[in-house]
Symmetry: C2
């Protein structure tokens, strides 16, 4: 399948079926992702895979505690955006997905955030190729999770990717017209 | 071709052949990239395509002025890394590539840097699929380029991607063992 079809097929999934996934498929996706380029080729990332029910439950608990606060304080536009999508402070997906793939960046590398997120782009496409679903979940309180997981100080939690098979009926989000995004030769100058 | 092969085939290219590229191929890659997910689906990015020789030359000039300084002040490890790869302050690729694709992020979106770089991950794979080459060039002085290009204040230059056909003989950079990057259940706990 070509990339355009893969990219268009992929949607963000927040509900997972109980179906187990093959660990080898998950490792394959990491094999793809780690081929991404990075600043000074430092590959400034680490992956932590959680499959243990008790540890997933604890991560969920830590996240939900902060999510409740976050939802109360959310600005109006975000609040509406979340309500329309029935997104609440509850993060069932952190327990329901067979695996949580936590991605960390190494703070001491040049462009560590940029490099790590570029690599996450590879990762999402690789998951889609294996028909695995995920959501790029960024908890409001990454430091508390780092602390619970006893992560080295030099590493920063960038994202939690719950990985599993989709049970999410919601339709894919639309995209804006590409012509709105592209300028030719001059800022603001349209394509035609 | 599957993603693993695509990701492994891709290498960073800093020398371009004079061969023209098809603008439709470049637009196709942007079509793929814009399918990437983003915080609140805000798609917080803009693309500026420069093909005009005079404007490319001016961008190069602005970058090289800052690169000279940057190279003089570079820390020892970076200096060595660059010397081994014969990377100097000279950025011929900014003129030699048929097109410069500048990617900007919209500062007012949540997670605008993360979202934009995730999308750049899609973009690099899409370019590789079309056998187009690039380097994720991050100039030391993005603000000066924004000023020259009269970019809206709300937008931030994230990267300049010179796009063309490779004339770079250098071999691809290696990658570390995947086992060094993956922990199972606990930070620091190896795969086997």
């Amino acid at each position: 399948m070509d990339l355009l079809h893969l990219a268009r097929r992929r949607k963000t999934v927040r509900r997972f079926s109980g179906k187990k996934i093959d660990m080898d498929d998950l490792l394959h996706c990491i094999e793809v992702a780690r081929e991404a380029p990075s600043g000074m080729n430092m590959q400034p990332w680490r992956f932590l895979i959680l499959g243990d029910g008790e540890r997933k439950r604890k991560v969920r608990e830590i996240c939900e505690r902060a999510e409740r606060d976050f939802h109360e304080r959310a600005w109006e536009e975000l609040r509406r955006w979340m309500a329309e999508r029935k997104i609440t402070w509850k993060k069932d997906f952190l327990e329901d997905a067979p695996f949580l793939l936590l991605v960390f960046s190494w703070r001491r590398a040049p462009y560590f955030i940029q490099s790590t997120w570029l690599m996450i782009g590879y990762l999402l496409l690789a998951l889609e190729e294996k028909e695995l679903a995920t959501v790029t979940y960024t908890p409001p309180n990454p430091r508390e999770i780092e602390k619970f997981l006893e992560v080295d100080d030099d590493y920063k939690l960038e994202v939690i990717l719950p990985v599993g098979y989709s049970a999410d009926e919601k339709r894919r989000e639309g995209r804006r017209d590409v012509k709105e995004m592209i300028y030719m030769e001059r800022w603001g100058a349209g394509m035609r």
